[in-house]
Symmetry: C2
Subunit: 101 residues, 2 copies
């Protein structure tokens, strides 16, 4: 596969901001809440929401809604599929660049 086709067909992970989100969520020891992600990623709320929705729709992150006392709290975790996809994206990129370099 050529670089364009590989990266375009992996656009959920090849876009910088989403790769940053996925790597952050995958590296976290605990589920991360929205504000912790905002602080880690330097994004606007609307921008982060919209990326999280895409990643959730694709099954790469899971959203858990709950309460801390009476306050609602939404946390995000990286799913097994999310880890598998990250691994396979990295392997594809390694193959692509090693062939080119």
């Amino acid at each position: 596969m050529n670089p364009h086709d590989f990266l375009a067909s992996n656009s959920l992970l090849s876009e910088r901001v989403r790769l940053s989100i996925m790597a952050t969520v995958a590296a976290a020891d605990e589920p991360m809440d929205f504000n912790a992600l905002l602080a880690a990623l330097d994004l606007s709320k609307g921008n982060l929401s919209s990326h999280m929705r895409k990643l959730e729709d694709a099954g790469l992150v899971e959203v858990r809604k709950g309460f801390v006392g009476r306050k609602p709290r939404t946390v995000y975790v990286c799913t097994e599929l999310g880890r598998t996809e990250l691994r396979s994206y990295l392997e594809g990129l390694e193959a692509l660049l090693k062939a080119a370099l």
Copy 2:
């Protein structure tokens, strides 16, 4: 380094379109001309020009201007610095994701 800082500080290569350009130019056996790049990358002319200028300014690609008969022809090659940076970006990403996965 956390994922956000790593990807943001490597934005010349972590943006999907520029990574696609760099991987294409690095993989090419011969210097590529503008139209060949356009066809390989599915971009508009203005978009490709603007990315190529950034990559050239950073020394990652070299632009060679010449003639084929009387027709001007501009070709692009990946520089040694470009290859080094691609390799180091890939290594950084591997370290980042392997720690996360």
